[in-house]
Symmetry: C2
Subunit: 345 residues, 2 copies
């Protein structure tokens, strides 16, 4: 890009994020010079958002800036780490000053909230795409992993998975909000949209979990699939209690109004993706610490880890006490949308 | 991407790069867990290659893999650092197994040569684009910067800038190699192509320079422009001796054969880009250490740093003893192609 455009971009990003004393040299040289705290392991994560793949074309720039950082902070959270530094690689079809200003605002607000400094990166011309890489710390050897779950552990999730996917559907279906719907229904859809556009990385929860959880993963691709990855790394299986899946007030009101069916809500919760919540396992011996966490924030115990008897068998089973949820439609849902068809009932 | 495609990609990248004992946890979790050596600053760099912008459409996959890492190792070299860990964010229009295998081969060969471990990253579907982020180390406070040059310092460059840009021209001009040219001319073009497709990051030189150089920058956008950035950071000016610019045997033979003019060669050397050499400044008090380095590898002293008398004045001046190079055409070249028009003669 011409030098003038670089200068423009520089204007928006040089001051982005939080100031930190451990940044010896930030944006502006060939590389950033950073001073890791002694006695810590460095956690490094990287995630890319592509327009039209990870967010709808024409998404608000502030949301894109927020999400580009949030998806990485969510990975940092899943490692039980404290985030510190970010690099931003931004590919833009053209320099749109208003778009850049909003993007930087969304990115920077979240960075400052988590005391993350933007220390470098680059800008290139091309299709809209944002790669962010975040570095953070854990005390040596204390990083959370996917691989520590053991049979008997409680299976938990933060927040209310499924909301973001419902919000994305609303963004992609123009008439959902245009139709002369009830005011409360419009508000419920808007609340879910907000969960897609401005997800909350659970950084504080991840830090608390590092002393409690046996395994952790962030929920980005869909709750069931991500839990399955954690179980695969842990060489375990689990039973998910479908009746225990946390549900937001917005989702409940849409189900009540008939805008979303029970089965559809279940599909969104299990396979929706884009939630950036944490799924984790807790040994029953730490139940009181978990109870304390549950008093402070939205966490649901949604099942239990069990022994994997046969490595070729499905790792996930489901149970439900509700008659309507154990019928053929649900079996079909679990098989086609979630990719698991093993019932524990 | 479907899980099967992820598995395919995983196959090529899980074993890419060098094994390292300071990688506590590599590819496969939400983040990598890395153990920085005590007493060191962490250097973090990030660079993106976009197909059709940074390399021609249809470039050999091994070259793309090599260059994606090389451009980052070059930044690490310019900081005087030892590279250690890389993250790879790969965006692909489709999964082409043969392409991936070659890409991984090119990436991995260079990573192993520099003992760099691939510790994470992600793969997404989209236009072909590669972002790589590399982390490395310097002893605390010893990172090389752009900002340390002082009047009187010798201005130096490694290698023979201009070769890569000439090689790119050959890649983009189909008839240069197809024409019934002399065998030695074809070989010269091929040698220059090689400099574009497989640039050599000067990591070892950067490490040596950390004790000698007062300032350093990697030459990626063009020698004159990159030196100008170093001077801007150092609040200095410089005079470049056009007669002292290093020239490769391949470039010389193409000039001799009339395939490239003297003026054109000068434009390529000053403004060509993609060289990934190092431009640096050395105080005259360290001349003997510099002489020792020059005996070991290709380094040219191409000018000297002078005082910047007026911050609004051009920072770069040029001189040449050759009659043919001080004429109107050269002045025009410097002004239009390089963006500098101040003669020191």
């Amino acid at each position: 890009m011409p030098l003038g455009e670089f200068a423009l971009i520089d204007r928006y990003f040089r001051a982005a994020g939080a100031p930190r004393v451990d940044v010896v040299l930030g944006v502006g040289d060939d590389g950033a010079v950073l001073r890791p705290p002694p006695g810590c392991d460095l956690i490094a994560v990287s995630d890319t958002l592509v327009e039209g793949v990870h967010f709808p074309v024409g998404s608000p720039a502030a949301s894109v800036g927020h999400r580009a950082l949030a998806v990485n902070l969510s990975d940092i959270a899943a490692m039980g780490a404290t985030p510190a530094w970010a690099l931003l690689a931004l590919t833009l079809p053209q320099v749109d000053e208003a778009w850049l200003e909003e993007f930087a605002r969304g990115f920077s607000a979240l960075a400052r909230a988590h005391e993350v400094a933007l220390v470098g990166g680059d800008t290139t011309r091309g299709p809209l795409m944002i790669n962010v890489q975040v570095m953070g710390f854990v005390p040596q050897g204390q990083g959370l992993r996917r691989s520590g779950a053991r049979p008997g552990d409680l299976l938990c999730v933060s927040g209310t998975p499924g909301d973001a996917a419902a919000g994305l559907r609303c963004l992609q279906t123009t008439d959902l909000l245009d139709a002369p719907a009830d005011q409360s229904i419009r508000e419920a859809w808007r609340a879910l949209q907000q969960r897609f556009e401005y997800p909350t990385p659970r950084v504080d929860l991840g830090l608390r979990l590092s002393a409690i959880a046996s395994a952790c993963i962030d929920v980005s691709d869909g709750l069931a699939g991500d839990i399955d990855k954690m179980l695969a790394a842990s060489l375990c299986a689990a039973i998910i209690d479908l009746d225990a899946l946390p549900r937001s007030a917005a989702m409940s009101s849409l189900i009540e109004a008939g805008a979303i069916s029970e089965l559809d809500a279940l599909r969104l919760a299990l396979a929706g993706g884009d939630d950036y919540e944490l799924a984790f396992c807790v040994p029953t011996s730490r139940r009181s610490a978990l109870d304390e966490l549950m008093r402070e924030g939205a966490i649901g115990v949604i099942g239990e880890v069990v022994e994997l008897k046969d490595s070729a068998a499905p790792r996930l089973s489901f149970r439900s006490g509700r008659k309507a949820l154990t019928d053929v439609a649900l079996a079909d849902l679990l098989k086609t949308a979630v990719g698991f068809d093993h019932f524990a009932v």
